[in-house]
Symmetry: C2
Amino acid sequence: MAKQPATGKQLFQALFEPRSVALIGASGDARKNTSRPQRYLRKHGYTGRIIPVNPGRDEIFGEKAYPDVTSVPEPVDHAFIMVPAKAVQAAIEQCAEKGVPVATIYSDGFAETGAEGRRAQERILEIARAGGVRVIGPNCIGLVSTDPGCAISVNAVLEMPEIKVGPLAIVSQSGSMLGGLLSRGLGRGVGFSKLVSVGNESDLSVGEFADLLVDDPHTKTILLFMETLRDADKLGHAARRAYAAGKKVVVYKLGRSEVGQDLAASHTGAMAGSDEMADAFFRAHGILRVDTLENLFELPALVADQKPSKRHRVAVMTTTGGGAASVVDRLGTLGVEVVGPTDEVVTKLAENNITISKARLTDLTLAGAKKEIYSAVLDALLASDHCDLVLAVAGSSAQFQPQVAIEPLLEADRRGKPLASFAAPHAETSLKLLADANIAGFRTPESCADAIRAWRDWTPPIEQPARDERKVNAATKLLKESGAQLDEYRSGAIFEALGVPRAASEVIKTPEQKVALEFPVVAKILSRDILHKTDAGGVALNIRDADALRTSAAEILQRVRAKHPSANIEGILVQRMEKGLAELILGYKRDPQVGPVVVLGVGGVLAEIYKDFAVRLAPVSVETAKAMIDEVKGLAVIRGYRGMPQGDREALARAVNAFSQLAFSDDVAEAEINPLMVKREGEGLVAVDGLIVRKQA
Amino acid sequence: MAKQPATGKQLFQALFEPRSVALIGASGDARKNTSRPQRYLRKHGYTGRIIPVNPGRDEIFGEKAYPDVTSVPEPVDHAFIMVPAKAVQAAIEQCAEKGVPVATIYSDGFAETGAEGRRAQERILEIARAGGVRVIGPNCIGLVSTDPGCAISVNAVLEMPEIKVGPLAIVSQSGSMLGGLLSRGLGRGVGFSKLVSVGNESDLSVGEFADLLVDDPHTKTILLFMETLRDADKLGHAARRAYAAGKKVVVYKLGRSEVGQDLAASHTGAMAGSDEMADAFFRAHGILRVDTLENLFELPALVADQKPSKRHRVAVMTTTGGGAASVVDRLGTLGVEVVGPTDEVVTKLAENNITISKARLTDLTLAGAKKEIYSAVLDALLASDHCDLVLAVAGSSAQFQPQVAIEPLLEADRRGKPLASFAAPHAETSLKLLADANIAGFRTPESCADAIRAWRDWTPPIEQPARDERKVNAATKLLKESGAQLDEYRSGAIFEALGVPRAASEVIKTPEQKVALEFPVVAKILSRDILHKTDAGGVALNIRDADALRTSAAEILQRVRAKHPSANIEGILVQRMEKGLAELILGYKRDPQVGPVVVLGVGGVLAEIYKDFAVRLAPVSVETAKAMIDEVKGLAVIRGYRGMPQGDREALARAVNAFSQLAFSDDVAEAEINPLMVKREGEGLVAVDGLIVRKQA
């Protein structure tokens, strides 16, 4: 029977506060990497037992050494394995025998090298699982805890004299980046609680570490450096717990430029690549995603004591118009709203003989670079309800006269409002003062704007909307009746059952068959074997009467049979001809990484080229659907762009919500309505074409 | 008669190497800003005469003071005016009387404050012009020269002990940012030759300063911080001279998020805002534009000894996969090509027992973090023809073991290839080593990627294509014959004369009139008074024969006369009905800032929303037109996107070139072809609708 692995507090202690650490493969040769951990452990304050394991030595650097971990007479809480790949299995077997709860594997040569390495990794994991050993790695550079000190790693970054203790924890999928991140954080004066490299993530994953850190009293913010998303469920769960505990999760994830990988039968696959899916995932769980590397360290102070805000109006004050404009300009490209002061603010300041303009940017100019003035204006902005975040941009004074533009920030009563500061000059001293006061200080205008953008995009974890029992059941029933492969007509019926109106439709089996529809109509070939109806000559538009329908239907059948002689034809789908203000595409997909997602965009090839789509985890509420509608640039065409009429956004939001309830069916792999025609305000919308693809059995 | 102003070398000396500086409005109170210049001049090594001018004092800080500049017994090369706005006129009058060649006006309260201030500024300028005085400012914080030292400024940044001498000159439209820029540059170890704040730019402009700096032997790179573009001609001229002299001009310009200001009668105005125009201007003159502020200082070393490259393949090597990926990911979003090593490179290294993969990213991993290996790989990449730029990303070693990943860069034979370095950790010492060796070292992945993007976009100043005499003359003749306001038919004739084919067209005066065109045709109302033909009921499509044309034409006339009873109707334009692969929009505009520009995009409202257009100064060559076609994302629809057929890009490039020759006519304010239908490869294109707007007399 498999041994029970350590969990919760017990696991946390074995990972970060072990009473003893066995260094399997430790070297006594100070030039070798494998000699480092012993030195680093002591250097960074580890006070527990260090047990070198090396069959060729009795003692290493003053500690008694053992030939293998089973021969250690006392309990071992944590094993750090540094032996060559082929010796790792034996080491894990011994850890299992000895009952070591946690093994961190530094050795590489596993899944990262290909199929054979992957198999070796799986073998090791089986042994570990059976023996109740939790594994970090392999191919993992180690982990560090600062209080109490415990640095189990070969990372040369640990040559640094000490690691400042602080509230940030890092979990990194890149081992080689861990040192870089640590040194960047320290370089700007922030301190750390924990640093973890997860390596190949064969067992303990980013999500599981994040979950453990939620319960770590030393950690206030969890920073993630991610290359991919391997455990969305665990990470989502951890992020929600973090949110509830008032802790922030901030992620920098690679893959922005990844091209959509899985071009599926429908367009939905191409619409959003895996990175957009990850984006939707982060948003759904209240995770802040940053776009600049620096923001892993600059953003946390901005949101440290914050909750997501419902409004996002930014007030900007400065003594350097040019410096502030460099941030405001970028905020503009990111669509962040910058607001000038209200009359009330202007009047109140005027009463104190301080004149500011109503311009969007409150520029005190050099003449206003006096502490009393700076403080009074800052105070007035922080106190006023017209803005939800204050950005104070400091000019040259930040470098030589911190009392002018920095002290006012340190002394300000922030009244719970987020406060950001950007120093136009190189002003390390001022940035240090700000960091010590836990005020967000930014080094570059780009990072400053990105942080404010991330704050704007930040929402509480999204609650799943209620399941509409009646509709979902009706849809599920239809789905069950539809067989393995659905045609357009049956797919449309399911969309309709969920609550998305479709164009009035009838199926005729012969050209002669009459329809009860109002003309004009369109006729389309109905066949699961024909993907591209138009190319197959299977579509006729604008049919004005019954006679024309008979002719068109006969022509369609003739053309299609000539082109696709073996296609199984179910009939001809006749639909009322519809017109709308805009043709949209609404897609659904069960993504392998993040699960069900819904995608909304404008139809046609251009929107696809511009990747102009809103993506959310499904199902979505009507409220979230509205946010999606606002987010799609091309949907300006239903938002009254250039005097165009308003589209029925209410109906669209309801339709997106209804459609997204496909997520309640495990059986649907993909679905798409294309086009979904949105009419004028109050006139609703109608699905004209679409398809559901069932999961492969 | 107006006195002749100083020019060339004489002007340069008065600006940067004056033998004497009069400080008009100098204060003897050390707490006042106006006391600073005297102190700063001496502090930063000025050895010439300092002459305080102040009617209330005989002496200031040990220098004899004068009541006004005319009573100074010796010549004054440069006056720095710090008196209140209303006293500036008198000061300038005295400078004119005294024959001071240059006056820098620190005083504010002029054009930046509104109409009254603008008038005061104009008055002062008239006096200065008449007296041969060149003016910097007003509202200008001053200027600094480092060798020989001459700091004429109130900028508190001059409190710093010394300014490192080096090859960078800054010209800034933001005075308050000048200190910030200086301190940022010094903070990263680069040195400066000159720093200039141009203030309100009433006389000496950014372009004129850039031109003077081309001849400054101390300046190698001219950095511009710009808020707007006031003197495109001079700046373009200076940039071309700089290019010829091997000096680089690098600009950071605000206004990326500015919304298109002048929505004109046609769409062209909305297509490209003033910032896109500025972009086109910078490109045309070989100016490198950066998107991150830091790149004003990080980019120069990358291009210092370079010419623009025709190919832009980037090789990336690293010991930290995650760190390098943070740059490569962003390069991907910017469309920069990253290439893996060739077989030849791999084989050559294998001969030296160094194994690298053929992957896009050459990741040596920690195991390869040895100087010999790093050097050998770097050398192989620099020597190989498969790449045009090498990016070396250093991991933790950059911080503690510069010999591993930094020394190889210092020692490398760059063979004329640009070399960029990004350090994943906070590694100030390594960055300093790189700066001293004039190797581009980047602090953030974002800035690194932006610099490589700027290098990719950099071209030599673009030569104006030859004027096609015959065609331009024919077009000009038609233009002259067309009267003040052109209709669609006459506009089309001019496009055709230039070489853009248009749909076969005839104008009929009555519905009964016959046409010789092949059917089907379209009929459109022809009236200079009707801008929106479709809205007016003035368009009929797909007319199949002469009978139908008669009916349609009569209906059009009836509808239009009912809706626009007072419109002057010239007839009905009948055109062969055309179909294309894609409908484009081709626009021309004489921009008030940069002059003639040509704009190419996809037709329709979406492309406008996405701002997906290519803009260039007009006229453009066929080659430049091809680059424009490649640049427009939406034109993927004629580049074989998703199996779509290829469009006739050759014909399109020729048409863009032909159309852009409108720039040879001073008389055209705006022009637009919309839609321009591009057909399949080899089948050409055809203009279907369009209009020329003449300049207002």
